[in-house]
Amino acid sequence: MKERVRKLREQSLTAEPYLSLERATLLTDFYETGIVEDVSIPVARALAFKHILENKEICINEGELIVGERGPEPQAAPTYPEICVHSLDDLNILNSREKISFSVDDETRRISEERIVPFWKGKSIREKIFDNMTTEWIDAYEAGVFTEFMEQRAPGHTVSGKHVFHMGFSDFKKEIEESINNLDFNNDPEAYAKKEELKAMEIAADAIIILANRYSDKAKKLALEETDATRREELEKIAEICSYVPEYAPRTTWEALQHYWFIHLGVITELNTWDSFNPGRLDQNLITFYEEDINERNISVGEIKELLQCFWIKFNNQPAPPKVGVTAEESNTYTDFCLINLGGVKEDGSNAVNNLSFLLLDVIEEMRILQPSSMVQISKETPNDFLMRAMKVVRTGFGQPSIFNTEAIVQEMLNQGKSIIDARNGGASGCVETGAFGKEAYILSGYFNTVKILELTLNNGIDPRTGKQIGLKTGDATTFHAFEDLFEAFTNQLNHFIDIKIEGNNIIERLWAANLPSPFMSLLVDDCIEKGKDYNDGGARYNTTYIQGVGLGTITDSLTSLKYNIFEEKNFSMNDLLLALENNFEEHQTIRQIVLNETPKYGNDDDYADEITKRVFEEFYKAVNGRPNTKGGHHRINLLPTTVHVYFGSVLGATPDGRKAKEPLSEGISPVQGMDMKGPTAVIKSASKIDHLRTGGTLLNQKFTPEILKKDEDLEKVSALIRAYFRMDGHHIQFNVVSADTLRKAQENPERFKSLIVRVAGYSDYFINLGESLQNEIIKRTEHGAI
């Protein structure tokens, strides 16, 4: 690693995340002018965006080659008061909480109290959302039946397509002009709305060009002051590049990276979109620039590698915007889920791995930082040496890259009605979410606690935590004669809460579309310009709304336990079990031992348990899949947890699988922690029994001790394991490679393990930044990995 990169990396790793009111203050300045009263909402949003970019601090860090910070400097996290107003209490929590804190100074507190809160209170979308929800929705939300993604962060969940790397904003402006010219005010009742939206997009395009030019000016100024000749030349080059991109399409790798970075900053400044933004298939998007640089411009691989490393640091400098409340619980991390895709197939279905794919793996291995995250797509066409190279990075044990099945991704999209070309150009983003890159708004709307549904079913719709009747009265569980009675009650309860969630989604989508359109994002995603429609209002070619099922392992083992022990083996009665659950298994050790040790469990390739997994999957799928959203698209399912399995566990009492009250649920589609007794092949067999191809992504966590991956020949066997999983249509697999001992040491002496990164669920995180229960869960998972 070159000295420049080492220093920038060090700066990025040591700077403490803090709250910056720069954006909030500029936004408030703009809204206070009253201009917004005179223009349409999209135009107002675009003007606000422009105001921020015209006036924000310009920051060029020492030695960097790719420039641009979202805040005034690295690790500064802005707030978005039009979305979520942080009270003084929130600020205190953010400042003082043990994990994922953001320091808040007195000046920030003062400005917040005197200006930001008074101006925005009552106007934020968070308040509008909660005001518009029904009592049933609020009850379910508070009980932890589901979470709500859009209550303090914006819909985003999308990825840049290749076209963005080959177009300047002057090109987008031409398209806008054309689209405006094509408006038919005689026959199209939406023509006016479309014109306003297109005007807004044009303003947003100008805004990002202005920002780039400000960076160019700053670089010129720094160049004049610079005494070191080499650095002066670099600054002059930066100035030149920033005056060219993003207005015009990039020509070189350096320009392409800077071009994308301005776009990334634009997206995450306009709104606090989920999963930030993402350059997508980076090896595909950059390959023409790379080849021309090498072959025609005499630029060395080393120079390109250095640029890529500088690019990497820019991601790590931007912690995810501060989250509070349930949203912090479900996604408690600084990671903002930018997942770089490598490998996969080209448009024509042939292998897409190129020289740059390998170079990028080198970058990932050397950088060893949290952001951006990375993945490799493995298809039937992918050569083994690429998979092996990726596995060697996995072996270094920081959870990257995760491994995805290209054929599954493509088929999932075909199943959702996308064209094969769009599907092959797509990939996975966030944790594991399938998407048509550059063409789809695929919005995760909230996690769904399948285990809470069972708890409500066993209590006739009453939440035992509060005593409140929040679900249907599906019958007293002790009166069920057969497992089918119980399963039917469970299904009814499930459908009831999915109805509530979808009803909420369809209102919340409209609130975003009406109040907070995102004209800048709309420039980037096909076919918003052509349709004259906002990204948040169905402008994208494809519009998908997901509900993410959580706790597949725990729900399977719980239902299996009920079926096996109560209705078939008659080991104890429903009454006995309910009493044991109520008492958290205290003084019911015999029952607990039976359910823990003598009952079939998911993850062991045992059809008895795995049949239940399939049934739960089918019911969840039927309840959600295909139901319309408000943007011309449909609801779909995927199965992933981020950190919500910890929160969902915390709202639950003991469960029939032997899990004690408040303990985490299983994550993704992984078995309950420690219950997979037959090793990874059995886990993979169980996990492949559900139909991944009808989801938009599933998450499977595998843990290996470092010894297993030490020898290359063993690594090849793990690669074969992956190929087998993918042949059975598995969507994704990720590996945690750290010994339990190391983790325990890190728990005891966090200060000595600051850089220890582990795989959590669909993303990696610093171990010391995880809550204690999540740390314990990962230790438990890892211990079990010793084969």
Binding site: G679, D714, A720
Partner: protein, 262 residues
């Protein structure tokens, strides 16, 4: 003869050190040898036997079970896709699997009918006609070689090695695929004279693909306590990494293809 059922004490999936690829290893019960360093003492009795659940609790469980060939095949079948992807297959281990040769033969025959690669992890201690019988259904022999001197062998394993060495020569003559596995038990199998004898013996064979040096481990110590059996090797410590490398070089210098571990 075929047999419909037999006794096993474990089925291990994702076995990656028992032959090529990803394997399913079936551990058959029963062994008539008495190696001092045996780390599977629960495998010696042919029949299921009681074992303490843990060292501290006076609660027993039964180790081993009778299982039908059909059920074994069902477990093997489950992992077919992994054998295909990795070039793996089935390994039968023990105990000494040859003790239940009818059962063993039945399993292996079925595997071959399904075109599954088979390996047998054996001490080679069995009458030659049994060895002769199974050669048609075993693709790879993982053959344990411990001590060449007959007297020392008898002392530390309870039996003469004449049969074992003859069987190894027989397999070699039959051009079977053989991997020799030498347990490295400090002070026992790694003496200068034994190493010399073993290497000479191997050099006189023609079909040995490679030699695996298996470092002594103490995994079995706990199990002796749980079985209320006496462990004879308390004084021996695990060989260091340097020592293992030394031994590896020793064999390499004699022109023998060698690796550490399975």
């Amino acid at each position: 003869m075929m047999s419909d059922s037999g006794y096993i004490f474990d089925i291990k999936k994702f076995a990656i050190h028992d032959g090529p690829g990803i394997r399913t290893t079936i551990f058959l019960k029963g062994c008539s040898m008495d190696c001092w360093w045996c780390h599977n003492p629960e495998s010696r009795n042919l029949k299921p036997e009681p074992i303490l659940k843990t060292n501290n609790i006076d609660e027993q469980e039964i180790i081993g079970r009778e299982i039908s060939v059909e059920e074994v095949l069902h477990e093997i079948d489950k992992d077919m896709i992994f054998y295909e992807e990795s070039g793996g297959g089935v390994t039968i281990s023990g105990g000494e699997a040859l003790m239940q040769h009818d059962f063993l033969y039945s399993i292996l025959k079925k595997c071959k009918e399904k075109n599954i690669h088979t390996a047998l992890d054996t001490s080679g201690y069995a009458p030659e006609e049994i060895i002769r019988k199974i050669t048609g259904v075993v693709d790879l022999f993982l053959f344990d070689l411990k001590l060449i001197d007959e007297e020392t062998h008898e002392k530390h394993t309870g039996v003469s090695n004449r049969l074992i060495l003859n069987n190894l020569k027989f397999l070699d003559d039959q051009e079977e695929n053989i991997i020799i596995r030498i347990p490295i038990i400090p002070g026992f199998t790694d003496t200068e004279s034994n190493l010399l004898q073993i290497s000479e013996f191997i050099r006189n064979l023609n079909n040995v693909q490679s030699v695996n040096l298996l470092p002594y481990n103490k995994m079995g110590v706990e199990k002796y306590k749980r079985l209320k059996k006496l462990y004879k090797l308390t004084e021996v410590s695990v060989p260091s990494e340097e020592r293992m490398n030394e031994l590896k070089i020793y064999f390499k210098n004699k022109g023998i293809k060698v690796s550490i571990g399975g």
